[in-house]
Symmetry: C3
């Protein structure tokens, strides 16, 4: 890739680790234990992969204190190898601003303000009344529709839509009257919004995505949702309107939360599950219909439909 | 925001309402009862919020006849406060054409026709054989692939894809032969297509989205679906190919309908539900596996798998 | 549309079919049996539509040998009418390169290589370290983020995102540390990626989409997934990280597969189903909670929650 290289000493100092072997060893990339080649650093954080430690071609391995004795060559010893790997991965990030050096077309409405440190990709649309703070990145082909505020150090991945119209209509005799969506979307700092996500602005009050939230790709968040700090939501989930969710919420992929609910802090929801009621007790909630061989499923399915209460 | 203001008399006349208090009172924005400040108009449509009526700082409140006696200050009395709120919300819409005043790049194929009243956002792609009628809006970063007709007064939200290739292949010895998709996508008038939606054009005959349909964000509609007038579909749903759906269909988020089905008028489907058979009787259909605490779910799950028919 | 026309002889030779009627008959388009008009060719592949054969206005019909005796007018007799229709559909494809004749803005990073035969639509973003091989098409408003390789004859539909950041974080005391995603996304030849799909590049090793894979719209594939040859996945599905899937996998819409699983060749998964365990036996797996009238569902639902193991 782009040729960054670091001494083992450099890397150890970034993660407050103890060096095993030559501190001047040069590391050029990160690899898994199985696929490493000389010049690579690897890490062991899941005991399932311990079997690969003795045969790896990695020049160095990040390990915890317990596994330090099993190092075949050089290494860095830390309390939490996975956290250390995360820190070191950033050093090998190539092209943190990939838009340098090409002419970029994007649109910022005259009523919006974008800090000069913000990186904006090609074809980004920033509509009226938006404000984007320091060191945030808005990647290619994203649309910030209206009334969107984004804090510092956040990342909006490509083709996301922020501040879109909430789904609000009043029924009338001939169909529906559209309710104009006059609120804002307030996104905090250190937030990541995945590729292809859609987050609506509020109808009157605001939609809020608090600091540290991480959304995977293709997540939908409806108008007037409040999503608490450090929540992490996997791909293809949807949260319906006016639901308030506490801190550290986690949700597996393809799951949803109905509207107008209250969810306390520290709730985990499994994949492919729908939350239909407010949750007042932190914990782990699941609602998957078990997948089975088609014949067995057909029998279970008939059973469920026949038995009532 | 942009400084529209209206007298109470102006607003009352828009919704055929009766004025309580000073007709010349100036209203500058809309707010909820809880968050209103002086200069705001609010509304009471859900009895759950009646408790906020006595303490609101709103200068005026839209209420029904029953609640008119409880008005603390000025107000507008109507039969349906929610419908009145919808009408008045449009008056406070800022920047109905947010693309004015910037240079816009978009693409319209030489075989396509776009009425001069149509608003097109930046980076919109309009491919061959498309026709877009009066007063429709195509928002930023949307793609109209091929053979797409859109009626009047419709809104296509950002990053939607219309007229994409249907998912059609004929199996062959070595995999699949692509079936070119030669049909059209016909979208009616007063339709809204949410951000990030994808709607395929027909394989041979057309895909049809009838007048007044509202799609929330990230909805997928496959080729040759016919979706009846005034249907409303919540976020992250999918409708499979060649299914015909009647008028006033409603579907909660993350739900789906299998292909080649017929659904009559006036069917409502809950969230996170799959419809696997044609529906010949209007009504309310649900197929959610209840979410439970993980331990309880595990027991229910084993029970379902063990008991057959 | 664009006025291609073919003699019946021309068409029969493309599909190795036997001609019934005038070999010089001119065919101008394809239509279904029900909606055909003179000048059209139609096909009969599903016996359900046999009733339309006697009254169709099609000038010619593609049929199998069994149905050849029922032809009212001209036709082409083949072993597999559906496969023949697929081949002939390509002849009537209008504007295979719809981007000719307009000025196109797109972005290719200086470190990336795109074969000169590749068709690129407007507003496409191709970031660092990408390689796109012969005759592949990248449609409008798509983003190739980083480290994306695409083989020959593949089609990327509009507004897709390829090579996006995988959803990887290491928990720390104050939230999460981002894990930079350093791997690649390797897409084979003859692949189609639907509109609005998102496919993440690998964290360290690569994400792989093998030859002949077809993804419908709005499918999400997480980092380090390996998806086997000729797999076909319907709309709005999601596959979680590090799952390895064999050849000929098929999955209905709105379904998912959890992470770190192994799925053998020739597995079919129904719509709206979650796969939570590795699958070592090919076959057909389903996990749908049956949709019912709301009252019946409520009873079944209480029953499920009360009965444990």
């Amino acid at each position: 890739m782009s040729g960054q290289s670091y001494s083992l000493k450099d890397l150890a100092s970034k993660v407050n680790g103890d060096i095993v072997g030559d501190p001047n060893l040069i590391i050029r990339s990160i690899a898994t234990l199985q696929n490493a080649s000389p010049g690579c650093i690897s890490f062991l954080s899941n005991s399932k992969y311990k079997k690969f430690l003795s045969n790896t071609s990695a020049s160095a391995v990040i390990v915890n204190r317990e596994n330090a004795v099993e190092l075949q060559a050089a290494g860095i010893v830390v309390d939490n190898p996975y956290a250390a790997y995360a820190v070191i991965s950033a050093l090998f990030n190539t092209y943190p601003n990939p838009y340098i050096g090409n002419e970029i077309n994007y649109f910022v409405h005259s009523t919006s303000s974008v800090d000069e440190s913000v990186i904006i990709g090609p074809n980004v649309y920033v509509g009226p009344n938006c404000k984007i703070e320091k060191n945030t990145i808005i990647h290619a082909n994203s649309s910030l529709v209206k009334n969107v505020h984004i804090g510092r150090n956040s990342i909006i991945h490509p083709n996301a839509v922020l501040g879109s119209d909430g789904f609000g209509y009043a029924p009338n005799k001939n169909g529906y009257t559209k309710i104009e969506q006059l609120g804002r979307l307030i996104i905090g700092s250190n937030v990541e919004i995945g590729a292809g996500c859609t987050i609506d602005r509020g109808a009157i009050d605001d939609t809020e995505i608090h600091d540290g939230v991480k959304l995977d790709n293709q997540v939908h968040v409806a108008h007037n949702v409040i999503l608490g700090q450090d929540s992490a939501i996997a791909a293809s989930c949807a949260i319906a309107g006016s639901t308030t969710i506490g801190k550290n919420f986690q949700m597996g992929g393809l799951s949803g939360v109905l509207g107008h609910l209250d969810i306390v802090d520290n709730v985990m929801v499994g994949a492919h599950t729908l939350i239909t009621k407010s949750i007042s007790k932190s914990g782990n909630y699941v609602g998957i219909m078990p997948a089975q061989d088609h014949k067995d499923w057909a029998k279970s399915s008939i059973f469920i439909k026949r038995r009532k209460i």
